[in-house]
């Protein structure tokens, strides 16, 4: 008799946890896309919370310290670009030409409203000169 209660309660707990996992998982999973994927079909990404990884386009940065507003563009192959705006402090390691991951939503005007800005850098800590690298390889090494 008592054994049945225990199985019932234990089972309920387990099922509740699994249900919570599935529900929360669906809510909190953020997919990661490349700039080219987004530019190819922008309507799919409007008002959808996603992450995009790309390189910061040189000479595209505008930083307003009084309004804490950072504007820049990201790219994957230097042929197509996505404009990004982020409100908040400019990260220490933000550099043009380096990889960043932005999380947020593309608005109807094609500008990416980033809620989070993550600056990624190569795991390799030596100060190497990347000028000669193939751009695609560079993208792969810093973002993926």
């Amino acid at each position: 008799m008592e054994g049945k209660y225990r199985i019932m309660i234990g089972g309920t707990i387990i099922l509740t946890i699994i249900g919570a996992i599935l529900y929360q998982g669906a809510q909190s999973t953020v997919f990661f896309f490349t700039p080219n994927e987004v530019v190819a079909a922008p309507d799919q990404y409007v008002n959808r919370n996603v992450r995009i990884g790309g390189l910061v386009v040189p000479n595209s940065t505008r930083w307003d310290p009084d309004r804490f507003r950072l504007d820049f563009a990201i790219t994957e192959d230097f042929r197509t670009f996505i404009p990004v705006v982020h409100y908040g402090v400019k990260p220490d390691m933000y550099r043009e030409g380096q990889g960043v991951v932005v999380e947020g939503m593309l608005d109807e005007h094609g500008k990416f409203q980033a809620s989070t800005l993550l600056v990624k850098h190569s795991e390799d800590y030596s100060a190497q000169n990347h000028a000669g690298d193939d751009k695609k390889q560079l993208y792969k090494s810093v973002v993926r």
Binding site: I13, I17, G25, T29, K90
Partner: protein, 661 residues
Amino acid sequence: MLNNLGYLSLVAALAIAAYGIVAPHLGVRSNNWNLVRSAQFGTVAVFVLVLVASAVLLRAFIVSDFSVAFVWENSSTDMPLFYKISAFWGGMDGSLLFWELVLAGFSAFVAYFYRRTNREIIPYTVATLNVIQVFLLFLLVTWANPLAVTAGAPTEGRGLNPLLQHPAMAAHPPLLYLGYIGFSVPFAFAMASLIRGRLDNAWVVTTRRWTLFAWYSLTVGQMLGGQWAYEELGWGGYWGWDPVENAALMPWLTGTAFLHSIMLQEKRNMMKVWNVTLIIITFSLSILGTFIVRSGVLNSVHAFAQSEIGPAFLIFIAIVLTIAFALMFRRLRLLEARHTTDTLLSKESTFLLNNLLFMGMAFTVFLGTVFPLVAEAVRGTKLSIQAPFFNAIIGPLGIALLALLGVCTLIAWRYSSAGYLLRNFRLPVLLGLATAGALAAFGIRHPGALIVFGVAGFTGAVLLIDFGRTVVVRGRQLQIPLWTALGSTIMRNQQRFGGMVIHLGAVMLFIGLAGNYFNVEHNITLRPNKPVETEGYTLVYKGMQTKQQRNATLRGAEIEAYRNGELVEVLFPARSFYPTQPDPLTEVAIHRTFRHDLYLALASENDNGASVTLRVLINPLVVWAWAAFPLFTLGTVMAMFHRPRRLAEPALARNLGLSGS
């Protein structure tokens, strides 16, 4: 020359450890105890050889011998000696050597110290420990050679990643490894019991201290990691559900369940299947944890396959899980309990619920961490599972555990009548409600926080009242003053007192965690000598300063913090520049009180110091979380002293699960 000697030592150690897997089995089977003894001696030989190799590597670090590639990668001449030494475990190869060194030491200790008390299963225990050592030594000798030679003859090294040049980060990996290695011992004993078919409680009783030690190491290792993240990474928090953090959390969760569950086996001969399962999972998760952190799988699932080490780890885990569970199923009938849990409202039930909750948490963290990796491997889509997922599930489960802690402490073994429950729980429940009510009256309205504080009040009350009652009764019985009764109760109930102190630490930790509900953050740009008010503080920027600190140059802002018109502290949020690294590190400035941390991070220096932008955070109750550390330490030390009392013969036999009953 010396470095070659070190490498050869590892090769020899590998050979002896391999011998040590086979010899005990053959020795027992053919009743040749010399074979078994040779394997025991072999563990000492392996330890000495690995010690030699470790000494060689350590010497290379101390004298900055950059002909060793690993030293070149992780050290530089300008580093303080303390960090030159900690660079030993600053990378994969060295940390594997460190792991193997400690495991070899523990194996030798186990082989000798327990050879009489566990005569039947010691040969298999030694064999199992040697299996793990062969895996590590094989990696060390092939793809993770810490003594490999550098190409060329460099005179300067790359230097240790400056993020690791922090005392907490120097201690963090060794402590975690001690935890993982510590759990290897009960695992090996469990495997030995299964192989031998001797399924009494000897292995549990013998390894209790190892389990406690391993648990403590993992706990402190993670707390130091959190402290480091808080002070060095500068985002303002100490836990971000990062895969690397989760990798250490998973074995901790199942290990904590295991630590409690074995008590039920010791006292009531129950949960044997649970315990074997939990230790297998804990051990496997600790290997998985090292794999996740060190194999490169986090950069890209496809990158990890480019090195052979990643697949080697996965294969090893697969082999361990397969063989271990196969052994368990083979002996399942011998493991299953003779008593079943008596009633629902009993201490036994709460232990079972405890296991379920911890497993639930571990499973959740596992899914959240591993699913993105699997998704990328299988479908190529990269996705991340964010903190809200973990918080939404682990939060409620954690609160349930906190409440369960209180319930389990008070509830009776086997059966609790309604009257018993009412009498004993009435006061703590009232105190818990009163805590929540008082805080609500003071203006705290956040429901989650009120629940946590209320449950913390309940559980804290249970712990103190329960122990206090024992002291009072003892004082009354022996007609001695309360202080003496307190001391005497502690000395006679070391495990119980130690447990209570650790649990009080857990209550403090939950209170500290609840502070996160009230975190506030502001971005503020300050100009020289123009005060800015925020959250009850007045901040005045006095100017930028440059300071030299050993091998780093610090450039930061001098900030005076005032509260109620009085200067509280002068803070120096800064960035540190290391000569060998291109990017600077954040050095946050913290003013800590019991109520909160005033946390300043330098965001940017504008126009050469004409103005400075700071991130200003108020993090309530952080020090309460750190306060758990001394409590955990004291409690563990007390519990370590506990020696199971010598039982009379029939009771002893019953306890060890032997004939009858």
